[in-house]
Symmetry: D2
C-alpha cells in the first residue's frame, strides 16, 4: 500500500450502492480501502456476503460504533437517508471529506427536505456548505468541496436530459414532463414484498404519481438551470430490469433551434455524457455497469414538442459511479480514473 493513496472509508456497505462502490473501488488505482462498516454484519468478510468480490476485497465489515474513520481522506455514506447527517459534522471537523450517496444534503431548503423525508434535519447549517455533486453542472465547486450531496438516480437522468434546453432557454419551463422508468435495484437491497422477483418480475407499473421524493430535488436542479422556478410533472415507473433508468422527457419548444447541435455542443467535453446521433434510441443496456449517460433528442414530426431520451445505470452514474467521479474531481485525479468500465452488452 502506497502512502500516497487516498484512504477511503465506506459507511454502510451492505446495500446495492455499497457493493457497487466496492466493485468500482476494487480496481481504482489511486485509493486504498480503509474500512467498510455495517451495523448488522460486523465481523463478516465482505466477500462472504458478495462472492463477486472474492479476490478483490479482503476486509471484513467493521462495527460502525468502533470504526475510526478519522484517518480517512474521504468517507462515502451508502446508508439510508438520515444517517449521514448525524456523523458528517464530526468527520468534517477532523478534516475528512464526505460524499453522501443518500439524500441528506441534496435539498437546500430545509423545510422542503423535512416535509418530503419526514424527519427533522440534524444539521441544517451544513446544508449550505454541501455541494450538489452533478459534475456537469458544478464541477468547479466540487473540486474544493468538503461535503458532496451525491445526486439521486432519477434526478441525474432527468437533469442531464433537460440541461441543454433550460440553459439555452428554448423551452417553456412551466410545462415539463419527466416520464421515468427504473430497474428494481433502485429500490435497494431491502426485504420488501413489492421488490420480490415474483412481484416485480414480468410486471410494469407507475408509483408515487402523487409525489416522489426526487421531485423537489429535480425541480431545484432544473430551476437552477433555468434561473427561475419550473413546473414539472414527474412520474416514476418500476420496470423489470435489474439496473437502468430510462427517462423520457417532454417539453414545448419556444424557439426553433438545431437541437442536435445544442446537445452535442453542450456535452462535447463531458466524458460521461454521450449524445447519440440524430434519430437514435438509447438502450439502458448500452450503459450497464458503466458511468455513462447516453442521450438522444427528438422532435417528432417536426412539431413543437421536444422529446429527450436519457439513460443511465442507476447504480453507477445514478449513484456509486458518480460518487467516484466526484471523488476524482475532489482529489485532482483524472475524472475517469477507475471508471473506464466498458458496458456489459448483452
Amino acid at each position: 500500500m502506497s502512502l500516497d493513496k487516498i484512504k477511503v472509508g465506506i459507511v454502510g456497505g451492505t446495500g446495492y450502492t455499497g457493493v457497487e462502490l466496492l466493485r468500482l473501488l476494487a480496481i481504482h488505482p489511486a485509493i486504498e480501502l480503509s474500512a467498510i462498516t455495517s451495523r448488522g454484519e460486523a465481523g463478516l468478510p465482505v466477500a462472504d456476503m458478495f462472492p463477486s468480490l472474492r479476490g478483490y476485497v479482503d476486509l471484513p465489515f467493521s462495527d460502525p460504533a468502533q470504526a475510526d474513520l478519522s484517518g480517512c481522506d474521504v468517507v462515502f455514506f451508502a446508508t439510508p437517508n438520515g444517517i449521514a447527517m448525524q456523523q458528517t459534522a464530526d468527520l468534517l471537523d477532523k478534516g475528512v471529506r464526505v460524499i453522501d450517496l443518500a439524500a441528506d444534503f441534496r435539498i437546500q431548503d430545509v423545510a422542503t427536505w423535512e416535509k418530503w423525508y419526514g424527519m427533522k434535519h440534524a444539521c441544517p447549517d451544513l446544508i449550505a456548505k454541501a455541494v450538489y455533486g452533478l459534475p456537469e453542472v458544478n464541477r468547479e465547486k466540487i473540486r474544493t468541496a468538503q461535503l458532496i450531496a451525491n445526486p439521486g438516480c432519477y434526478p441525474t437522468a432527468v437533469q442531464l436530459g433537460f440541461l441543454p434546453l433550460l440553459e439555452a432557454g428554448v423551452i417553456d419551463e412551466t410545462l415539463l414532463i419527466a416520464d421515468a422508468k427504473s430497474g428494481v435495484s433502485g429500490a435497494g437491497r431491502k426485504a420488501e414484498v413489492s421488490a420480490l422477483f415474483a412481484e416485480a418480475g414480468d410486471n410494469f407499473k407507475a408509483y408515487g404519481v402523487a409525489g416522489h421524493r426526487h421531485l423537489p430535488e429535480i425541480s431545484q436542479g432544473l430551476a437552477g438551470m433555468a434561473n427561475k422556478p419550473v413546473g414539472l410533472t414527474f412520474v416514476p415507473h418500476l420496470t423489470p430490469l435489474i439496473r437502468g433508468i430510462h427517462a423520457t422527457l417532454y417539453a414545448k419548444l419556444t424557439k426553433d433551434i438545431d437541437l442536435q447541435h445544442l446537445f452535442e455542443s453542450r456535452y462535447i467535453k463531458e466524458r460521461f455524457v454521450d449524445v447519440l446521433p440524430k434519430g437514435s434510441h438509447p438502450e439502458t443496456r448500452s450503459v450497464r455497469g458503466s458511468n455513462q449517460c447516453r442521450i438522444a433528442v427528438h422532435r417528432p414530426q417536426g412539431g413543437d414538442t421536444v422529446v429527450v431520451l436519457s439513460v443511465i445505470d442507476n447504480l453507477v452514474k445514478g449513484a456509486a459511479g458518480q460518487a467516484v467521479q466526484n471523488m476524482n474531481i475532489m482529489f485532482g485525479l483524472a475524472e475517469n480514473t477507475g471508471l473506464e468500465v466498458v458496458p456489459l452488452l448483452p
Copy 2:
C-alpha cells in the same frame, strides 16, 4: 358439435395473436373451430406447435390455398398487415363476417394508411364499411357489422385512457402526450434479432419516436372523441415483459372537474374497463391473460396536469380478447362469453 354453434375460421394461426385466439376460443362455449390456416405449417397439428393447447385443440393447420372458409360464420385474420384486405371481399360476398386483427381496415383515410403501411390498399372501398372494433365507443355499430377492424394494442390502451377526458371536453386536445410501454410479445412471433431474449431482456428503450404506425390510428380515434383534430405526441417503449401495455397519458386540464367521478361514471357499465380507486397505480400483471383494461386517473399536486395510467394485456384486450368480445357482440352473445378468465397473478 352443436349445429347452433358459431363456426369459426382463423387465418394465420401461428403467431401470438393466433395462439391467443385459440387459447380463448378453446373454452368458448358457443363456438366451434372449423379451420385454422397456416402457409408454412399446413398439416401440422396445432398442438404440436403449441403444447399448451394439447387436449384443447385437435385440428391441424390447413393450407390457406385449399381451406374453404365459406362455411364459417366468422373468420378472424391473425395475419401480417396486407393479407386480410386481399381475401375479405370474397368472404363478405359469401356471407362470412370478418374480424381483422391486423391494420388493414383501421384507418379511414386511404392515403394515410398507404403512407404509414407502405403498400397500396387492395380494397379501399371496403374501408368505409369496416367498423372500428372498440366496443366502448362503437358497440352499436359492431352489432351489425360485417367487417371489424380490430384495434391495435397501443391504440386500445391509449384511447380508453383519454376517452372520458375528450368526450367531456375538459383537456387541451392540442397537447396530448402518450408515453406507452409494451411487452415484447407485441413484436410478434417473428425471428428478429431485436426481440431476442439476450437483446430485449434486462433492457429498456424507446423506439419509433419519429413516427409509429399506431400514431395515425390513435389520432383518428381521439379526434372522433373530441370531435376535432388532436395534437398527439406518442412515444412507444419496449420493456422486458412478455405481455402487457402500460400507457401513461398526460394532458392539460381546461376545466376543474372531479376526475375520479368522470372516469367511474363513463365506464360504470363497461365489463372490461375497470376504474381503480383514487390514488391507485395499476400493474400490468393485474390484467395478465385477461380482457380487462384497468385505469387510474391522477392530478399530481393538484396542478392542471392530468395523468392517466391505463394497462391492458396486449394479446387479449389489445388483440385476441377484444376480437372475441367483438364476435360476441356481433352474434348477440353476452359480451363476456368465454372471457371470464381471472388474471394470472403472480
Copy 3:
C-alpha cells in the same frame, strides 16, 4: 348462492398459494367461498390486495381469531408450516374436512418430520389419518379422506416422473437423482432478500444441497412406489421464472423396456398428467397457470440411463390446483371441475 354449493374456507389467504386458490375457486361452479382469514390483513377487501381478483372476490379478509369455520364443508390451509396442525383436530371434530397445503401432515414418521421442520408436532395422532393427496397414487383414499396432506411442489414433479419406473421395477432404486429447478414464487410471498428481483433475477443457483425439506417427503413417496427404501440425491435450484418447476430425473435401467409405452399406459387415464411424444422436451410455460403435469422420457444414445423430464406449475399442480383436484375427488365432483384453464403461452 345455492344451498347445494360446497362451502369453502381458506385460512391464510395472503400468500401465493392463497391467491392462487382464490383465482381457481373464483370460477369454480360448485363452490361458494365462505371466509378467507388473514392475521395481518383482517378487514381489508381481498381484491384491494390482489387487484387481479376485482370483480371475482368480494369478501374481505377476516380475523382468524373470530372467523367461524365450522359451517364450512372444507377448509384449505394456505398457511406456513405448523399452523394447520393446531387447528385441524377441532375442525375435523366439527365435521369439516381439511386440506393442508403446507407440510404438517405430509411425513408419516413423526420423528423425521420434527427433525426436518424443527418443531414439535402438535397432533401426531392425526398424521396416520391424513391421506397424501397425490391423486395419481391415492385417488381412492382421497375420496373418503377427512384430512388431506397436499403434496409439495418439488415432490409432485419428482414423484410423477419416477412413478412408472418404480412401479414397474425397471430401475435401480438405490441410485436416483432428481435435479430440480423452481421458479421464485416457490419461495412464497415473503419479504426476503434472497427472493428480490435484483437478487434472483438474471441469476441461477442451487440451494439446500446438503438437505432440503422435500427430500424426506419425496423419498417416502418413492419408497411407497418401489415397495422398498430408495436412495435419492435431490438438488433443488432457483431459476428466474415466476412460476414453474422442471425436474430432470436420472436413473439406471435394470431392464430393457419400451419406456414410452410404459409411461403412456400408466398415465392414459390421468386427466392431469400428459406424456409427450417420444423425443419431446416439455417447457414450463406449456403448463403455466394450469393443473397439468407434462412428462417426457428419454434414453440418451440408447444407453442404460433413463432421463425423465417433468414440468408443472408449482402454484397449480404443485399447490392450489392439486388441492382443488383433491377437493373435487372428496366431494364426488368431476376431477377437472373448475380446472379447465388453458395454459398461458406466451
Copy 4:
C-alpha cells in the same frame, strides 16, 4: 500505437462472442486492434451496431474478402462452425497465430467431428496441431501453440468441475451425469424464434437430450483426465438468464476422500478457478462479466454421491475471456492481463 503491441484481428465481429471479445480487448493494455471483419456489415462502424463500445472501438467492420489479416500477430475467429477451418492454414503459413472460438478444431477424431457437425472437415491435418485451450489442463502446450481450439461453454464448466475427481481417480468414471443450465446468449445473436424474449423468457426447458454437440467434446476432455473412456450423460437446459452457465455434476465416489481439500489443492494456483468454502452454492451472477469459474463440492448426507456445482459466464470463461486468457499465455503476458474485471452484481 506502440509497435510493441500485439496486433489483433477478429473475424466475425457481430455475434455475442465477437462483441464480448471487443469489450475485453477494448481495455487490454497490450494489444491493438487491427481489423474486425463482417460479411454483412462491412463499412459500418462497430460502435454503431454496439453503442456500448462508443468511445472504445473506432474501427468499422471490414469486408472479409478484402481484409488483409496477414499483418496480425493473432487472429480470433468468432464465426459460426466451419469458417475458421477454411482460413486457418493460410494464416498459419503467414506466421499468424489463430484462436478459434468455434468448434472446428475441438474434436481430435475427424469422423466424430464430421458426424456431430454435419459437414466435411476442410483441413483434417491441422486438427492434430491444434491445442485445446483449457489453460487449467493444457497451459504448457498453449504457450507455444500456433492454433488454439477454444473450448465450448458447457465443456468449460463441466470439465473444470469433474477435473479434480477424475485426475485423482476417486469416482466411477462410467456413470457421470452433467445437468447443465445455460443462459440464452449461449444460442448466439441469431434471429431464431426459440430464442425470442417471449419464447425463452419466464420459461425453462431441457433440449438436445438425445445428443448435443458438446457431448463428444466433453467426453474427450474427461477421458483425457481419467486416462480412459468415460460414460457421460449430458443434459443441457435453457434458463431465462442472459449470461451464465450452471453445471450440476453427479458422480459415484469410489474412495473416501476429503473433497474440499482435493478441489482446493488442485486449483490453488489457478487465477480463474475459485473453489468456494464448504457448503457453498455458487450463483451465476457472482461471475457475471468476468473470466472466473466458481466451484463448490458437496457430498449430500455423507453418502457416496458427490455433487459439484460449477458456474461460469458463458461469454467470458466460456468463450471470449478464455480466448484472451489463451492469447495472454501464448504471448507471454501475465495470464490475467486485461481480465481483471470485477463481476457485475447485482
